[in-house]
């Protein structure tokens, strides 16, 4: 297990190099540059050239990229260009903290509620509860964040103004309610659906009949025998969940004006603030990679058949 983990972790730097290379190339050859964005309406070609030299943007691609890699290797993510002289991490960490809080709480709520609803639906298969859940799942999956967000805002901030329309007072405040609800709809729908189908499949298995035959209580049958096996496909989704959350967070933060990483990254794109853009991209890549790794490790715990495959 340990060897496997180490082997997987060794791939991480390579992955990061590839990701940084792609981002760097896109930035280098893409339209406009940070100096133009920085100078705005005070543009003067001579000043632009001078600034580009100061920032090292006049050097060839390979030199710039290798210098960047070398700094990254020392965990120096550079300084923002738009936020003059401010180290990227200093700007990013408070925003990242907000994004992680938002994501952790939403995915936790989404997953727990999703599994609960899924099990309920499976146990009462064909009854009204089940139908309601199936309908809700389709609805929850089909409606994108950028549609659901404004609807929630309209309902709970405008029509019945019980919750703030935006802003951020921390995760345990009223301002977090709508964003968390919005972000947990997706995971909840996916998990409800997968749990339901997983449970239905498992409940028809021989060993469930055996378990019932040997006189186990239904609760034990469901939790110990059925749910455990229904978990395996759920873990796969958990890995992908990270991805959809990142996307959802970007939109949610924009809709609610939450000063998180998504909003910040969006702003950095507009200003061609490459040190920030690349750092965010690397962070997302690391999150994805670690998320998947964690899922693989959990797989091994739940289903030892996979452990050394």
């Amino acid at each position: 297990m340990l060897a496997y983990l180490i082997r997987r972790l060794l791939w991480l730097p390579l992955l990061l190099i590839i990701v940084s290379f792609i981002t760097f190339t896109l930035g280098y050859y893409g339209p406009a540059d940070p100096i133009v964005a920085l100078l705005g309406q005070h543009y003067d070609p001579e000043i632009a050239t001078q600034l580009a030299r100061e920032y090292g943007f006049d050097q060839p691609f390979a030199v710039q990229y290798l210098k960047y890699l070398e700094r990254i290797a020392r965990l120096d993510f550079g300084e923002s260009i738009k936020y003059r002289n401010q180290p990227v991490l200093r700007l990013l960490i408070p925003r990242l903290a907000i994004t992680i809080q938002l994501n952790a709480v939403s995915s936790f709520i989404g997953v727990v509620l999703g599994i609960g609803t899924g099990v309920t639906a499976a146990l009462w298969r064909g009854k009204w509860v089940d139908r309601l859940v199936v309908f809700g799942v389709v609805f929850g999956r089909a409606i994108p964040v950028f549609v659901a967000g404004p609807i929630l805002l309209f309902l709970f901030a405008r029509t019945v103004p019980v919750l703030p329309a935006g802003g951020w007072d921390g995760i345990f405040s009223r301002s977090a309610v709508l964003p968390v609800v919005l972000l947990s709809i997706g995971p909840m729908a996916i998990f409800a659906r997968q749990t339901r189908s997983g449970m239905l499949e498992v409940m028809g298995q021989d060993y469930i009949r055996t378990a019932r035959a040997k006189g186990l209580r239904e609760v034990a049958v469901v939790t110990v025998h059925a749910l455990r096996n229904a978990f395996i496909p759920l873990l796969t989704i958990l890995g992908f969940l990270l991805g959809s959350l990142v996307e959802g967070t970007f939109l949610t933060e924009t809709i609610f004006g939450i000063p998180g990483m998504g909003q910040f990254a969006f702003e950095a794109l507009g200003g061609r603030d490459y040190p920030v853009i690349i750092t965010v991209t690397l962070l997302v890549a690391v999150a994805y990679a670690l998320g998947n790794l964690w899922v693989d490790v959990l797989y091994g715990v739940v289903d030892p058949r996979i452990r050394q495959a």
């Binding site: 406009a32 600034l51 738009k82 401010q86 408070p94 901030a157 951020w168 110990v224 000063p259």
Partner: protein, 600 residues
């Protein structure tokens, strides 16, 4: 896979699972733990980042959820008693601590370093924390700030400033002429990476040399004695003093900057009416009154909280979390309705800005002046602006905004709506007919969203009145600027929702910067030697009326030769709570909060 491995695996599975039948439970617990650890870790993390804690005296502030103080604040004690402002006749009676707190919306400033700030968001804070030799009063007239008075030599190139002897930095250190010399040289040093030094200080002899790395000091700035400073510029420029009001010309404390390193603005030792008390990126910037401020009016607000986190500012205003807010287009109709209670709290500010369509005189079909004029005549600007902007902004018939001090042009002959004349002009042009035009593309600002309504209306008008199909292409701000800045600007026409906002309140900032041959901000490629001649005369003309007359001529020629289709002058709508007194909303970023006070 070989069989024996599978056997081994099976065995392992059996032993492992026999011991732990509770794997699903464990997985759930793991999940919960992970969630909990994330939340706790992160919450703990933020608390760790802002270690100092103190009671929030700021009332209901969104974004101030954790009543923590960032490391930005020097450990100043909250003052118990408030001095009654002496010089303000209309000032209220002394208010107990905690009531003179203003909550306003704000944005994350790209920098608090005056020499680096080149955007309005940064300037908003910088002008309150720092100050310079001269500033503007409420009529936008230049008035003494750190300089008590000044003299200009007969040839108009040497300015001698006599500094106030009572001015102090926030830490109590006196402000001397040497500080100004050091500050100008820092701004002009290319290693500072200022984007604005060239524009605002470039006229000072030696600054451009330093910006290009050819000098170690700015010889045009000389310290005569501790309180006398002499600044020499390259040629007489009447607008030079106006440029010195900009943050790039502000004075900094050398010790503060050098000791603080690259992030010295965490603890800025300024000279302005307010001090930085708290700064949490994305959440809050708080300014505190500078009790030792030297100039009248002395600040009366004890604290200004700039709420940086987003969300609907209108809702926050209505819920009392903000004391003032700008009104967006979507809410304008509601608040301009006289029956709405908010209507009495509405204030309009005419900004010193203009929105226009730029026509590239080097690209067909706009290389023919008659076509450019036709594009002016063909647009029913009054109707478009009234409909799209709900009659909230004035149509721009000229170029210089009406809020410009000491300038007006009542006799300006605009190119008013006349579709027939437009068609005649096209028939007279070298193209003869619109069918001879190349494809026309309108470059608009935007990132994937719907085109702005004003651009839709413009495109529809051209089709209706001229029979010209104009295609709209959207680019984001950086690409938009990047194209315009190219010497061979590829855009035929652009703008609509992009414009020009004054850097200093002088017609020079519009007519000279935007219409002079080869000016980097003149993106249309318009070039008329006669205009340049007039601009040169105006730049050194000290007689106010003669100067105004010269600029009027330039404006008339620029309208007639039509490198632009001016659209409208910017107007902002603000809601301000009735207890906010003397709320001064200037048409450009100048120090303003020293005028405000609250009377509940």
């Amino acid at each position: 896979m070989p069989l024996h491995v599978r056997e081994e695996l099976r065995w392992e599975k059996v032993t492992l699972f026999r011991e732990s039948r509770w794997i699903p439970l464990i997985a759930v617990v793991l999940l919960i733990c992970l969630g909990a650890v994330c939340v706790l870790g992160v919450v703990g993390g933020t608390t760790f980042l802002v270690p100092l804690s103190r009671t929030e005296e700021a009332g209901p502030v969104a974004g101030a959820g954790g009543p923590n103080e960032s490391n930005a604040a020097p450990p100043t004690q909250t003052r118990e008693a408030v001095e009654t402002p002496k010089e303000e006749p209309e000032s209220p009676t002394a208010l107990p601590t905690g009531e003179q707190v203003l909550n306003v919306p704000g944005g994350d400033p790209p920098t608090l370093d005056p020499h680096l700030s080149g955007d309005a968001t940064s300037a908003e804070y910088v002008v309150e924390i720092f100050s310079g030799l001269v500033t503007f009063d409420r009529e936008l007239e230049i008035v003494p700030d750190l300089a008590e008075s000044w003299e200009v030599s007969d040839d108009g190139t040497v300015y001698t400033f006599f500094l106030r002897q009572d001015a102090r930095f926030h830490n109590g250190k006196p402000v001397r002429a040497q500080d100004f010399k050091w500050s100008v040289e820092r701004a002009c040093d290319f290693r500072t990476r200022s984007t604005t030094a060239d524009t605002y200080l470039g006229d000072i002899v030696g600054c451009r040399d330093m910006l290009r790395g050819n000098a170690n000091q700015v010889e045009g700035v000389q310290v005569v004695d501790d309180y006398t400073l002499e600044i020499t510029i390259d040629q007489p420029r009447v607008y030079f003093l106006a440029k010195l009001t900009y943050p790039t010309a502000y004075v900094l404390d050398q010790e503060n900057v050098e000791r603080g390193g690259r992030t010295w603005t965490d603890n800025p030792n300024g000279t302005g009416p307010f001090k930085l008390a708290e700064f949490r990126f994305g959440e809050l910037i708080a300014l505190e009154r500078n009790e030792n401020y030297y100039r009248d009016p002395k600040p009366q607000l004890e604290r200004i909280n700039f709420v940086l986190s987003g969300g609907s500012r209108m809702v926050m205003y209505e819920q009392g979390e903000l004391d003032m807010t700008a009104v967006g287009l979507n809410d304008i109709e509601r608040v301009t309705d006289p029956t709405n209670p908010l209507n009495s709290e509405l204030l309009t500010v005419e900004s010193m800005g203009i929105f226009y369509i730029g026509l590239n005189v080097e690209q067909p079909p706009f290389d023919d002046m008659k076509v450019r004029q036709a594009f002016n005549y063909a647009l029913d600007r009054q109707r478009i602006i009234d409909v799209v902007y709900k009659e909230t902004v004035p149509v721009a018939w000229g170029i210089v905004p009406p809020t410009m001090p000491n300038y007006e042009n009542p006799d300006l002959k605009p190119l008013e709506y006349d579709p027939e004349k437009a068609q005649e002009l096209i028939a007279e042009s070298k193209y003869g007919d619109v069918s001879e035009f190349p494809d026309i593309t309108f470059h608009a600002l935007g990132a994937g969203g719907a085109t702005g309504r004003v651009i839709e209306a413009i495109v529809a008008s051209y089709e209706e009145n001229l029979g010209v199909q104009v295609e709209v292409q959207q680019t984001d701000w950086a690409t938009f600027l990047s194209d315009l800045n190219r010497p061979d600007n590829p855009n035929q026409m652009w703008g609509g929702e992009a414009g020009w906002i004054a850097d200093y309140p002088d017609p020079h900032d519009f007519l000279d910067i935007l219409f002079r041959c080869g000016s980097f901000q003149n993106h249309t490629g318009y070039c008329n030697p006669e205009v340049d001649e007039l601009l040169d005369q105006a730049a050194s003309e000290e007689d106010r009326e003669r100067r105004e007359a010269l600029y009027r001529q330039v404006e008339q020629i620029a309208i007639e030769e039509a490198p632009w289709v001016p659209l409208f002058f910017e107007v902002e709508y603000w809601l301000i709570k009735p207890y906010v007194m003397d709320a001064y909303l200037p048409p450009m970023v100048v120090p303003k909060y020293q005028y405000y006070y609250l009377e509940r």
